[in-house]
Symmetry: C2
Subunit: 120 residues, 2 copies
């Protein structure tokens, strides 16, 4: 069974998680059969490890981790692979793929440009 994790950096502001919840809600509305978890590198709960554990407990064995980052930096290129390597040791039956950062995706670029142009 497939599952998705929206992977974010995390922040001290408790409202930081809201956009992640909105993304999850859109994904769940379109694919109700695919479990979606949110997991963070630091500061915001839950950590990525907990999200992977949660999906594993629900029977997911193919996880697509989607970095909610604008561009690959240290967190995506170094921290994330380390977290995933640790998770694969704990859950050897699971496969994990990492998607492109959302900021590298044409439709996301276009939507951000549209917002830059349009006053609210």
């Amino acid at each position: 069974m497939k599952g998705i994790i929206l992977f974010g950096h995390g922040a001290r502001n408790p409202e930081y998680i809201e956009p992640f919840k909105r993304i999850r809600a859109v994904v769940e509305a379109r694919q109700p059969e695919v479990p979606v978890e949110i997991g963070f590198l630091e500061l915001t709960q839950p950590p990525l490890e907990a999200s992977i554990e949660c999906l594993a407990a629900r029977g997911v064995n193919e996880i697509r981790v989607v970095p909610i980052f604008f561009a690959p930096g240290r967190h995506v290129l170094k921290d994330l692979p380390e977290l995933i390597a640790n998770a694969l040791e704990r859950f050897p039956g699971i496969s994990i793929t990492v998607a492109a950062c959302v900021g590298e995706v044409g439709n996301v670029i276009d939507a951000m440009a549209e917002h830059a142009i349009q006053p609210e």
Copy 2:
């Protein structure tokens, strides 16, 4: 004259600036008459102050700062207002407005959700 600044966090990876350049290219293609600069909080050049200075030198007196952040955290709620307050002292003839973070915008949320669903 109006101008736009795409404001990002910054990162050590030199490729971090690429999505910002892509957003700028889309904005410039749609509004060739509006100057667009990219400015960062830290690590990536140029800093926001330099972008404001650059727009001011080009005769811009109304700047729309667009936070390329997923959600308002400390950097957008505290650091950015401080940077802007300093800039307004240096350039008293300029007005600066701050747009919503891109991660709070419905079309951006939808595009990120679409990417989360669609394998490349």
